[in-house]
């Protein structure tokens, strides 16, 4: 029925079609994946056509037309630019106010210096202590940054090694439901030589208290194999390297769900990311 649906052959009033549409609207990931395959099948039909050349001026007219057209998403972004352009005015006001406050503070300090050199020395000591504290925080921040960079470098080396594999497949994971297309996403680099998945997620929200994210390998016969749990960093990013179990080469889907901390043997939570493996 999904093939009939994908090719657009189901009548609007068809009872089976209504039932199918209602089921798809529930977000069932298995049927969603089957629909992706059905649509992919249908989309292959034109590959049997002989390629044709449009006139050359079609290309030139297209490029001239888009040069004059705003991208609709860019129009939405323009409001933010306009708001950003308003910032200098408020910054100007803040600068005046800051300057006034600084001048008042300077006068106060001068008065304090004149009235009591001891008090001045005490302020200088406090200031030095404050600067030392600031420097110490900077050192700590840099140490943490170095640690993160070293971790990223390690991940990058692993990824680079997998990209050099002769048997590499890339799987794109999209958010669920698909309407949230501008939020989280993921990619898997499947190194078939080493039988490893290098999974990377971006923009995931924190999973919530007592929860974690879990990655799943879904086989062609829809068995769901747990592939490991992971947490995300402040940007919602995460990486995970997974060994693909021997004999499990016919994989149809990769999916991420949110689960109780520690993970579960079968998915119980919401599907956050799903990707089909062609």
């Amino acid at each position: 029925l999904l093939l009939l649906y994908a090719v657009g052959a189901l009548d609007e009033g068809d009872a089976e079609g209504r039932e199918l549409r209602a089921h798809l609207a529930t977000g069932c990931p298995v049927c969603a994946a089957a629909l992706v395959e059905a649509e992919s099948t249908v989309a292959h039909l034109p590959l049997a056509l002989s390629p044709q050349s449009p006139r050359a001026d079609v290309r030139e007219r297209l490029l001239a037309r888009v040069a004059a057209l705003p991208r609709l998403s860019a129009v939405a972004g323009r409001g933010q630019e306009a708001r950003a352009q308003q910032r200098p005015a408020s910054n100007w006001f803040l600068s005046i106010a800051s300057a006034a406050i600084a001048a008042s503070l300077a006068a106060l300090l001068t008065y304090a210096w004149l009235s009591s050199s001891l008090d001045r020395t005490g302020r200088e000591v406090a200031q030095l202590r404050s600067e030392i504290g600031t420097l110490q925080r900077n050192v700590n921040d840099r140490d943490a940054r170095i640690e993160r960079l070293e971790s990223d470098l390690g991940q990058s080396k692993i990824l680079l090694a997998s990209l050099q594999s002769r048997q590499l497949q890339v799987v794109a994971l999209a958010p669920q439901p698909p309407q949230q297309a501008d939020s989280a996403w993921g990619r898997i680099f499947w190194d078939k030589d080493k039988r490893q998945w290098h999974f990377h997620a971006f923009g995931l929200k924190p999973p919530g208290a007592g929860k974690t994210y879990e990655l799943w390998l879904v086989t062609a016969d829809m068995r769901k194999l747990p592939a490991g749990t992971f947490d995300v960093d402040a940007q919602g990013n995460a990486s995970l390297t997974v060994a693909v179990p021997p004999g499990e080469d016919m994989l149809a889907l990769a999916a991420v769900t949110d689960e109780p901390a520690g993970g579960v043997p079968q998915p119980t939570g919401q599907f956050q990311l799903v990707g089909t493996i062609p």
């Binding site: 009939l4 992919s40 292959h44 390629p51």
Partner: protein, 201 residues
């Protein structure tokens, strides 16, 4: 750095387009225009109208690049289904439904000759093996199955309309479409499994 089109995959091109890079749109057009135009021409049978729709498709990609969701399938599929939808919209607005049904037999029967200027296979991007796999799978279909599939895809007809057009029972038409597409799906599964194992393309 401005990597050449050949070095960018579809996903990267689409990201560049979403970022407002018109060069990426030009590269995507060069990659897919011969195939998209062939599809538009097959539906519309009018070069001028097919060129109009071709341009509309790429303008829509430019303006709505963020609509493409990689999780819903390959970019090529997205572009072709978009082109098919826009071509059928144009066809329906041009003809009444009755005329559309009457002409759709011709839609399925006409095969345009390969245009040597268009490159081969399909602008040099879509792997030749995949095209050949699709052609071979369609040749294996019963002629009536293939006609029913093509009336649905290129003619935009529902199974009821196809049953009326071919004077065949509704259940028979459903079966022909389901079996035809099912065989194509199975052939593609085999093809891509071979691709994964042996690096066909």
């Amino acid at each position: 750095l401005n990597p050449s089109a050949a070095s960018l995959d579809d996903f990267d091109l689409m990201r560049s387009i979403a970022a407002g890079d018109a060069t990426a749109l030009r590269d995507l057009y060069d990659r897919y225009a011969p195939l998209v135009f062939a599809l538009c021409l097959r539906v519309l049978h009018d070069r001028g109208e097919a060129e109009d729709v071709l341009q509309e498709v790429f303008v829509e990609i430019w303006q709505r690049a963020e609509r493409y969701n990689p999780g819903r399938g390959a970019l090529r599929n997205y572009i072709l289904l978009l082109a098919r939808s826009r071509s059928l919209d144009r066809y329906r607005s041009r003809k009444s439904r009755r005329e559309t049904a009457a002409e759709s037999g011709a839609v399925a029967a006409v095969e345009y000759q390969a245009d040597p200027r268009a490159g081969s296979p399909v602008g040099g991007v879509v792997a030749g093996e995949t095209c050949e796999a699709v052609k071979a799978a369609l040749k294996q279909l019963d002629a009536r199955e293939r006609l029913a599939v093509e009336l649905a895809f290129y003619g935009g007809l529902s199974h009821t309309e196809i049953a009326d057009e071919l004077q065949a029972p509704l259940g028979t038409i459903k079966t022909r479409i389901r079996q035809g597409l099912g065989r194509l799906r199975d052939a593609l599964r085999t093809h891509y499994a071979d691709y994964a194992e042996g690096g066909l393309d």
